[in-house]
Structure formats: C-alpha cells, structure tokens
Amino acid sequence: MAQAQAHNIAQAKEGDKVISTIAMIVTLVSFGMLFLTLMMGFAIYRFTAPVWPPAGMEKPSLLLPTISTLVIVLSSIIYMSFEKNVVKGMADKRGLTWTLILGVAFMVSQFLFWNQLKSHGIFVSSGIFASIIYAFTWIHAAHIVAGLGLLVWLYSALKTADSMTAVKVANVGKFWHFLGIVWIIMFVTIFVL
C-alpha cells in the first residue's frame, strides 16, 4: 500500500514536470506569435517605404540599444550557468541575483533610451518609425517586467528545493532566453539594419 502510494507520488511529480514544461512551451509559442506579428508589420512598413527611416527622421544612436543588448545577453549567459548549477544540486543563488540585477539594468537602459528619444524631440506620435521604436520596446519591456517577476518568484521556489526546482528554473530560463532572443532580433532589424 505504502509502496503504491510512493509510486503515485513519484508519478505525480514526473507528471508535474512534463505539464509545466508543456505549458511553458505553449505560452512561448503564443508570445512568439505576438512578436512575430509585430516583426511582420515592421517588415511591411520597412519594405514598402521609399526611404527608411522616413524623411525627416534619423536613426537613434546605437549606443544605448547596444548596451541593452550586451546586458541582456550577459544575463542569459549567467542564467545558463546558474541553471547548470541547479541541475548539479548546487544551491548557489548568485547567478540568479546577477540575472535579476542585469534584468533591472536592461530596464534602466530602456528608460534612458526613451528619455534620449524624448530629448531629441522624437515622440511616439512622430511618425511610423518612432511609433515602431516606442511601441515595440514597450511591449518587450512589459514582458521583461513579467520575466523579472518570475526571477523574483524563483527565490521563494528555491527555498523549498525539491525535484521540481530544476524544472522551474529551466522554465523560467526558457522565458528569459526567449526575451533575449526577441530583443536581439529587434536590435538587429530595427536599430542596426
């Protein structure tokens, strides 16, 4: 009887792992479609415009977006090593803390960037180019805020470490890396090209 119960519990834990992974993948497919739609819109504006950026509009300086990119890439790399440590069973939260700090730094760089645009007289209503920059970075930033929330949540999840911990860390990681990839695509297509 006790053996059957233990078997059920083990099965339930295994099930929880699979379920949360499926749920995160489906969620990321959904978010992926949202950003894909935005990028499709960008492509249409970009390729149907006679000149890009549109007349009277200059591309913003690459400095802050590049810093944002470096910060988010670094945060992903650090998170990956943190994830490896968790799998190995090492209770070292420094990686998580650094990811969180870099995530906040990314948000700060975004605020500075929006501020810079404003100081150059580029407002959200200043035409399609400005609309794209502001709206897309807003939507991405909203997801970053959600990602930061998940990182903070991980602290409490790590307190009661069990067989699910690695799955939780992996799933939050999927979300965080996804946001990094989205940012890199936006950086290259909107700011660089």
Binding site: N8, Q11, A12, K13, E14, G15, D16, V18, I19, I22, A23, V26, T27, V29, S30, F31, G32, M33, L34, F35, L36, T37, L38, M40, G41, I44, Y45, T48, A49, P53, P54, A55, G56, M57, F123, V124, S125, S126, G127, I128, F129, A130, S131, Y134, A135, W138, I139
Partner: protein
C-alpha cells in the same frame, strides 16, 4: 497514457468556493454556459433590431424601441445601427459561441471524456473565466460612454476604428475587451493542450479519444497560435488611439512616414480565418461523435475524420487572403490564396462523407441531440458549398460586401455552430444537472429554429446575389433594391420566428434544471467515460481513474449480447 493520477480534492464547502470562485472544471463550464447564453440573448436582441430596421425602415421597434431610443420615438438611429451590427458580430462570435462551445463544453468535456479528475491547472482555469468576465464588463461599459460602443464593424478595420473613424472611448474599450478576452482564451488553450496530452486515462491513445476531444484540442492549438496575432493588432490599434502612434493611419506619409490601414486587415484575418475553425472544430467534433452515438454505429472512418480535422486546422492557417481579394492584393497572391482555400474542400469532403457514412444504414434514434446534429450536417453542407463562390476570386469580386457573404458565414459560423452548441447542451444536460430535458419541447425548438434560420440565411443569400450591400442603414434609398423590401420582411419574420423558438429552449432548460425527470447514469446508452459515473458527475469525477480498453464508438457489435454498445472501460468483445 496518463502520466499521473490527480488526487481527489476536498469538496468545496462555502458558497463562494462552490459556485463563484470554483476550481472545478464542471462549475467553470456552467459559468461559461450562463455567460454564453446571456450574451446569446443580448446578441440575438441586437440582431432583431438590425433586421427590424431593414424590413421596416423608419418604423419604431415594437415595445422596447421607445425605451431604448426615446429621442427618435423608438426608431433605431443610423449611428446606433452601425454600433448594433458591430456589437452583434463581436458578441455572438467572442462572447456567445466561443464561451459556449469552447469555454463551457471544452471545460466540461475534456476531463470527463479523457478520464481525468480536473484540468491540469484548475486555478488558471478559474482565472480564465474571471478574465472573460472582466472582458465582458469592458465591452458592456462601452455602451454607456458618451459616443456609445464601437461602430467600426466586428472586424474593426482602420480607418473606421481609428480616432478618425470612431472618436469615442467605445472603440478603445472594444480593443481592450478583446485583448483581455484573448488572454483569457490563451490561458484556456494552455490548460486544454496540457490536459489532453498528459491526463488521458491509461490505455487511451490519441485515436481512442472521442472526436469531441479532437475538435477541442485542435481548437486550443489554433487559439494558442493565432490569438496573439490579433492581440498584436489590437495593441497597436490601441496605441494608435490612446498614444498617438501611426500604425494604421494612412496619410501620415506627408510628414513622417506612412501608416498602413490594410496591415490591420492582414493581421486581423491571419487570426480571423483560423478563428472560423476555432469556433467550428468543437462543433464538428461533437457532431461526429453524436452522429455515431445516435445512429448506433461506429463513427465511419473515425481516424480519417480526426486526420481530416487536423489537415483543415493546418490549411486554415494558410488561406486568410481570401478575405481580402478586394484590397488591391496582387493577382498572383489572390490565385495562390484561391488555390489553398479550395484545397480545404478535400479534407472537408472527407469528413462530410464520413458523417454520411456513419448515418448510412444506421439504427437512427431521432432524439433531440441527434436532430440538432443532423441540422449541423444540413446547414454546414450549405455553408460549405456557398463558400466556394467566395473562395473564387471572380465571383467574390461581385459578391464581396453583399448579403451573400452574411448568409454564407452565418450558415457556417452561426447556424452550424449554434446548432452544434444546442446538440451538446441537450446531450450533456443530464450529466451536468442530473435531470433530463423535455424531448417534445426540444423537438419544437429544433424544428422552429431550423425553419427560422433557413428563412433568414437563405433569404440573405438571395438578396446578396441580387446586389444588396451589407452595413447600409437604409439600402432602399437605392431604387434597384426597393423590390427587395418584401424579401427583407420575410427574413425579418424568419428572424422573429427563430427568436421565438429560443423561448422553448430557455423554458425547457430552466424548468428541467429543477423539475425535469431524474437522469440515469447513462440515459443515451453511450460508452464514453463520462457515462460510467453518476449523473450529475461528482466533484472528483472518477473515484478510480478508468482504464481504457476500446474506442469511443463501439456500437452494434454482433458479438455483444444484451446491449448494443460497449463502455470504453470494457474489453472489446470478439467472437
């Protein structure tokens, strides 16, 4: 195979935990059912106001007209007319049909039909309903804003839906409402997909799932993929309206780069065409099962039906352009979209033929759920065939924006989905409430509804073919349309008939819930898992998780004695 067995949760004890903030999929299903039926009533009343205006232009709507529009003496004003058809479409699609078929029957059927105790994420499920509730509040609140609700059509094309076309807050609330509803539906989709993959009872392979589950599963996949596409469009439209971005504003080119109103149409239909299947797939699944149950025959080509539904799901993602033939799309693209759209006919024909194969030489029991299922076969056949004219570029250019389109999509999306919803309601009512609905009233409901809806939608196709344009407040200012007034009166009388038929349903539903004859465990003599447990289903569904040993449509096995069906938990009887 099930990955694990969910534990039996304690029964809720307080009123709030039992009926309001319930985690139980069956209670959430009922909440979605009330929600959908309430909006069916509101959307239906709006349809009657629209129809009255077209049949009797300038005449006050009887009884409630003077209360609703006192400043015009009860006549529907032109600006309100645009708002009415906008909200009628929005409400019926997003707030009536979606909650009934996906919210109510998705929630009710998935765990019960796959042998699970609940959804994998009960809390997410509850949140999904309450977010849908918030969305409804936002939509209804828009009616009480100074310039009234959204009036840019249910598709809300810019520039009608930008500040240039709709200045009020109503359209912004419409966008927000649909965005919130999209989040709610995505939460539901995550839950449905994960539940079906991981919580199927031991022994239940994908092809042992009832076709109802196939329909709901494919729907959830489409929802997860395509709702965010609409979400992106709605976000950008909201930004245009609230923050002054210029995504969908044409004419901004002169100063600083151009927006593109047609982009919204692309985004809308990339979502919108799969949405047609989001609505119809659950109905197809339910009907495929019910035809087999009531014909007392195995579903003909059940695997092929499931695969045909899957093919249609995939193809549905590639054909959105047929909604936009008249938007100066490249002729090369229109041809491609026409080809792809026509290709959908092939899997559609497969499962339609399978429906007929299931019925062929069946020992059909003409009970109410079966009548409604047969109704779906009939109206979907008509809707599907009339779709061919709209899929073809040359005929679409003539028929586009006429009432032919309205007739076609009401046959496919409204009539067949609505009848499918009624079939499901009559069929699962005993399991939901432990009582039977009245068969005679059900049959009256069916026949009068069928007469009414065919009068409406066939009439619409005729007036559309005669050139009557959609969306016009008083089309009869055009002399060539004046001879269509009698036909419009006929359509309106049909609509009133259809509306009156629903009174049979409402009375039957409410009366049977409290006073209907007590239902047995398996009143329809069907073998799927939900009929192996008492009616109404207990809060934990299955005391022991069932082990599945055969398919869901094992009827009329000549080796069986004493009954003509097998439970899925029984070993298949062989000679």
């Amino acid at each position: 195979m099930a990955f694990f067995e969910q534990e039996i949760h304690d029964a809720p004890t307080t009123f709030l935990s039992k009926y309001v903030f319930s985690f139980d999929h069956k209670v959430i299903a009922k909440q979605f059912l009330w929600y959908g039926i309430a909006f069916l009533g509101i959307g239906g009343m709006m349809a009657l106001l629209i129809r009255w205006t077209l049949a009797f232009p300038g005449e006050p709507f009887p009884v409630i007209g003077p209360m609703l529009f006192p400043h015009t003496g009860g006549v529907v004003p032109p600006d309100t007319y645009a708002m009415l058809f906008t909200l009628h479409g929005t409400i019926m699609i997003f707030f009536a049909i979606t909650p009934i078929l996906i919210g109510a029957f998705g929630n009710y059927c998935i765990p019960l039909l796959i042998g699970a105790r609940d959804m994998v994420f009960p809390t997410l499920n509850m949140l999904s309903f309450w977010l849908a509730f918030v969305s409804a509040v936002l939509l209804l609140a828009s009616l009480f804003t100074p310039l009234g609700g959204a009036a840019g059509g249910w598709t809300s094309y810019p520039t009608l839906s930008t500040l240039i076309g709709s200045a009020g807050v109503g359209q912004t609330l419409w966008c927000l409402s649909l965005f919130v509803l999209g989040v709610s539906s995505t939460m539901g989709a995550v839950n449905y997909i994960a539940t079906i993959i991981t919580l199927r009872a031991p022994g239940m392979g994908y092809f042992d799932m009832p076709l109802t589950i196939w329909g709901l599963w494919l729907t959830a996949i489409l929802n997860a993929i395509f709702l965010p596409v609409l979400g992106a469009g709605l976000l950008l439209l909201t930004f245009d309206r609230v923050f002054g971005t210029t995504f969908f504003l044409a004419g901004a080119a002169a100063t600083s780069g151009s927006g593109d109103p047609v982009l919204f149409q692309h985004v809308f239909w990339i979502f919108g065409h799969p949405e047609v299947y989001i609505l119809i797939l659950p109905a197809w699944g339910i009907v495929s099962d019910l035809l087999s149950f009531f014909a007392r025959k195995p579903a003909f080509g059940a695997k092929a039906t499931a695969l045909a539904m899957t093919s249609i799901t995939i193809l549905s993602t590639l054909v959105y352009g047929h909604h936009m033939y008249s938007t100066q799309m490249s002729p090369l693209l229109t041809q491609s979209f026409m080809m792809l759209t026509m290709t959908i006919s092939i899997p559609s024909a497969v499962f339609f033929a399978n429906w007929l194969g299931t019925l062929w030489k069946g020992a059909i029991r003409f009970q109410t759920p079966m009548l409604f299922s047969l109704g779906v076969v009939f109206v979907f056949g008509l809707g599907g065939l009339t779709g061919l004219y709209l899929a073809t570029v040359s005929t679409d250019l003539y028929l586009h924006d006429t009432y032919f389109v309205v007739g076609h999509f009401h046959y496919t999306m409204a009539a067949s989905v609505l009848l499918g919803g009624f079939a499901a309601t009559y069929f699962w009512f005993p399991k939901m409430f432990g009582r039977m609905m009245n068969e005679t009233l059900g049959k009256w409901h069916f026949w009068i509804s069928m007469i009414g809806l065919n009068g409406i939608f066939m009439g619409m196709m005729i007036i559309g073919h005669a050139g009557m344009h959609r969306r016009i407040y008083n089309p009869f200012v055009y002399e060539f349309l004046q001879n269509l007034i009698p036909l419009n009166m006929f359509i309106t009388i049909s609509a009133l008939t259809m509306g009156a038929a629903q009174l049979f349903f409402v009375y039957n539903f409410v009366y049977s819930m409290f006073k209907g004859p007590i239902a047995t465990q398996n009143p329809w003599e069907v073998g799927t898992l939900e009929w192996t447990i008492p009616s109404p289903a207990p809060h934990y569904n299955f005391k022991e998780v069932p082990v599945v040993k055969c398919g869901p449509h094992e009827f009329g096995n000549p080796n069986l004695s004493g009954k003509d069906f097998q439970y899925q938990t029984e070993e298949l009887v062989r000679a």
